[in-house]
């Protein structure tokens, strides 16, 4: 156990040098780092949100809403297909999970089924091939036909919605111009948003959670809102409240002239005359043409600009921003709106309009945010605990094992450097529990040395000569070390598997620490002792004792 080949010694030395170099970037500034020669590692430790400060939001998509929207779509499809095929039906409607339609004539049943089957599209991907359809069409007893979205179909919808939602959320956060956010899908219907270094979570939440959709509606030509309130709202029309005074309502056509999706750009700005914050916007070509046509035909009449803010605090927030009278045809496909916004409101609204609508309402199911000040305090506290714990360990080890204790301490230092180095290279994230794991690893890493040294003492007490006692100490303790470290490794793996964020950081540090501490205890320290023994044998012959 005390013989090392030159190649092995070189390898151990290389690993230590590598660890040192990989750790170094953490102790210099980013500017210095930029000027470093290319062959040196430049990766710095990734700090977790709990140390750097930042926001962690777990958003949940509304599955029910998504299905409901889909059912409404299917309903529209059914209406269109049956009408085009001239099949008469009564009672077209949707329940929570399916669309039902009742035919008038039993003779149309097969024809209707064939028509409706075209609504369903096969689900599949390139790898597994198809696996059924997204909608199942079935004929019940008699004249009733049902269209049921299948479970795989719903899952596919969720997946698409998640991709779209991630895109929208990313665009919104990017517009804030902060550091790289991480936005990933988690599980089936959740999205995890992590924005490091951003402490204004209220703003973040408002930006993410709200959908803003601008649409342009025709105002009813003959009936005023008061008349409609008094009698009834005509089919295809709806009453919309005014943004500033909800008492005032407008009777608008439900289907807009221009949809929110047609907006290609929105920018905040100021009105050149009144200096009021405004939003200038631009439509796509198609919408520009439609809007040009509409305004040409309706000079002198009002139209309404409606802002749909999505669901806020459980209520749908739709209101009329303004209902200007068309003075002349608006042909360029661009314009501006003023709605009594504050500068900040105009900015946020522009971001929301620009980034498009969210495919579904996103609810915040978990929020964890840490201010940068607390993060900095945590780093300071963690470093202090590390230094105090580390110094205490060094003192204890040195007192208990003398010269060999110093070798163990050198092993510990290499261990600490290696953990930091490997974590930097891997791009692993250091969290506050991670620092605790790091400190704990230092304390527990001594265990391997303690096992070896106690064994050496025992062998010496049993009368073995120094060299063979040291040798036996290392080889016998080895199995115990492996056994005991493996079990901690299990615990760490389970934490990594089940944990999130900070806990994962703890698991990662612990795992790396286990490997490095075994390496340093059984190779680095052993090498030092082997060199010491060789030196002793050369200088003092066979007559020396173990300073332990």
């Amino acid at each position: 156990m005390l013989h090392f080949s030159r190649a092995k010694m070189l390898l151990i030395a290389l690993v230590c040098v590598f660890g040192f170099l990989a750790t170094l970037p953490n102790f210099v500034s980013k500017e210095t780092l930029a000027n470093w020669p290319g062959f040196l590692p430049k990766q710095q430790l990734n700090l977790g949100l709990d140390l750097k400060g930042g926001a962690h939001l777990l958003l949940e998509m509304d599955r029910t809403e998504l299905v409901k929207d889909w059912l409404i779509n299917i309903q529209g499809d059914v209406r269109k297909r049956l009408r085009d095929a001239k099949i008469r039906y009564t009672g077209l409607g949707a329940t929570a999970s399916e669309v039902r339609v009742t035919l008038v004539d039993a003779a149309d049943r097969d024809k209707a089924l064939t028509e409706l089957r075209t609504i369903a599209t096969p689900i599949g991907n390139a790898l597994v091939g198809t696996s059924g359809n997204d909608v199942e069409i079935a004929a019940g007893d008699g004249l009733l036909l049902t269209l049921t979205p299948t479970e795989p179909g719903i899952r596919q919808r969720l997946a698409h919605a998640a991709t779209a939602a991630i895109e929208v959320v990313r665009r919104r956060i990017d517009a804030l111009g902060t550091t790289e956010p991480s936005i990933v899908r988690q599980g089936e219907d959740r999205i995890l948003v992590q924005v490091p270094g951003f402490d204004d979570t209220a703003k973040l939440k408002a930006l993410i959670g709200q959908t803003a959709k601008l649409s342009f509606h025709d105002v009813h030509q003959n009936i005023t809102a008061e008349e409609a309130q008094a009698t009834r709202v005509p089919l295809g029309y709806r009453l919309y409240p005014d943004q500033e005074n909800p008492q005032i309502e407008y009777l608008l056509q439900e289907t807009p002239i221009i949809f929110g999706e047609d907006l290609v750009d929105a920018q905040p700005g100021f009105d050149s005359r009144t200096n009021e914050p405004i939003i200038s916007f631009r439509f796509n070509q198609r919408a520009a043409r439609v809007f040009g046509d509409f305004t040409s035909k309706n000079v002198g009449r009002p139209f309404a600009i409606v802002l749909d803010n999505g669901v806020i605090e459980g209520k749908r927030d739709v209101k009329v921003l303004s209902a200007p009278v068309i003075r002349e045809p608006i042909l360029g496909g661009s314009g501006q709106i003023s709605g009594g916004f504050s500068v900040e409101e105009a900015g946020n609204l522009a971001i929301q309009l620009r980034s498009g609508a969210l495919p579904t309402t996103l609810t915040i199911v978990e929020e964890r945010s840490v201010g940068p000040a607390l993060g900095a305090d945590s780093i300071e506290a963690g470093t202090r605990a590390f230094l105090i714990g580390g110094i205490a360990t060094v003192i204890l080890t040195t007192i208990a094992y003398g010269t060999f204790g110093v070798f163990a301490v050198i092993g510990l230092l290499v261990n600490a450097v290696l953990i930091l180095g490997i974590m930097s290279m891997m791009g692993a994230t250091l969290t506050l529990p991670g620092i605790a794991g790091f400190v704990l690893t230092i304390g527990m890493a001594v265990d391997a040395n303690v096992l070896i040294y106690e064994r050496i003492r025992e062998e010496l007490r049993n009368g073995k000569p120094p060299t063979s006692a040291i040798d036996a100490g290392f080889s016998r303790a080895m199995i115990t070390i492996a056994d005991s470290q493996l079990t901690t490794l299990f615990a760490a793996f389970i934490m990594f598997w089940l944990g999130s964020g900070p806990i994962r950081g703890f698991a990662v540090t612990l795992t790396i620490g286990i490997f490095t501490s075994v390496f340093t205890a059984v190779t680095v320290t052993r090498l030092l002792i082997a060199l010491w023994v060789a030196n002793k044998n050369a200088t003092s012959g066979r007559r020396w004792t173990v300073p332990i």
């Binding site: 978990e366 605990a385 094992y401 529990p433 612990l510």
Partner: protein
């Protein structure tokens, strides 16, 4: 050589043979009482679950204008109609921790409640930390926590079973259950906040406790081969005594580090460090006073010369 030569201080009186087995009935008795007590506490007082498991919100704020007036805040926030609002001062007189219980009515309501509190606090406070966990996530985290502990115990048992005789595995199970129960019991007794990080601490304790048990078990197995005629209790005593210096030294270095973490590691991980500190003490106790003596009760097969020696692991151990 660069390192000066000096002898270490061997604090441990190696000639002393402590008779651990003589007290095994007493220790078992105490431990059984402690375990039952922990169960009783768990079922009567319950645990003071943190937002991770209970849902609700936690806000840590720092007053920007001198020390925070906790009682004034209490009346101010208590009147918001959000159920129980706990307000607790922290290490710094300017810092306050506010806990809002989970609001009935689903996910979005939690955010509404949070906003109410933040609006009510006004500009005089700077937010340092906000945690909001909705009903869905908190119930998932509860399940995750339980699964994590059970999975860790099973993985460890399988490992010990594979490496040792079944008696060792059983001893380990009892010791681990003991450690987890007692730690949970102490958290219940002092109503310390129990959240996800405590589960992580429990897992680490399991790892450490098994580590300890394995070291003692390794020695027992070695001695079983070495002293074929020795009476089992005497052999167990010998094994514990032989590994005692190691147990104490490793225990002390780990404890020192954990004390440093608890005292200086900051408010956020204080409970986490404390749980580990307790667990390490309990875990060390259990490997000496529970796991090893249990082997005496269960009886371990003494003849290792036959098939056991054929096992590669055992052969390697025997060789060293």
């Amino acid at each position: 050589m660069l390192v000066p030569e000096f002898k270490g201080y061997d604090f441990f009186p190696h000639h002393v043979r402590l008779k651990f087995m003589r007290y095994k009935e007493l220790c078992f008795g105490l431990s059984v009482v402690a375990m039952l007590g922990s169960l009783l506490l768990f079922f009567t007082m319950g645990l003071n679950y943190g937002v991770d498991f209970k849902g609700g919100s936690l806000i840590e704020v720092r007053s920007t204008s001198g020390p925070a007036d906790v009682s004034a805040l209490r009346t101010k926030l208590g009147g918001l109609g959000l159920g129980s609002v706990q307000i607790q001062g922290l290490g710094e007189p300017t810092d306050v921790l506010i806990r809002i219980e989970q609001q009935p009515g689903g996910e979005a309501v939690q955010q509404v409640a949070l906003k109410k509190v933040i609006d009510e606090l006004g500009a005089g406070f700077q937010q340092r930390r906000v945690e909001v966990v909705g009903p869905a996530v908190s119930s998932e985290l509860r399940t995750t926590g339980v699964i994590a502990v059970i999975a860790a115990v099973i993985a460890i048992i399988c490992y010990v079973w594979f490496r040792f005789e079944w008696q060792f595995a059983l001893g380990t199970v009892v010791a681990l259950t003991h450690d987890v129960l007692l730690t949970v019991g102490i958290f219940s007794l002092f109503q310390l906040e129990f959240d996800l990080s405590i589960v992580a601490a429990l897992l680490t304790i399991l790892g450490y406790s098994v580590n300890d048990t394995v070291v003692v078990s390794d020695r027992i197995r070695e001695n079983l081969r070495k002293y074929k005629k020795m009476e089992l209790n005497e052999l167990l005593d010998l094994s514990i005594n032989e590994t005692l210096s190691r147990t104490i030294l490793t225990g002390v270095t780990t404890l020192v580090v954990l004390v440093a973490l608890t005292l200086f590691g900051g408010e956020v991980i204080r409970n986490f460090s404390l749980a580990m500190l307790l667990g390490i003490i309990i875990g060390t106790y259990s490997s000496i006073f529970i796991a090893a003596p249990l082997l005496g009760f269960l009886g371990v097969k003494r003849d290792w010369s036959g098939e056991a020696a054929a096992k590669p692991g055992a052969a390697a151990a025997a060789k060293g």
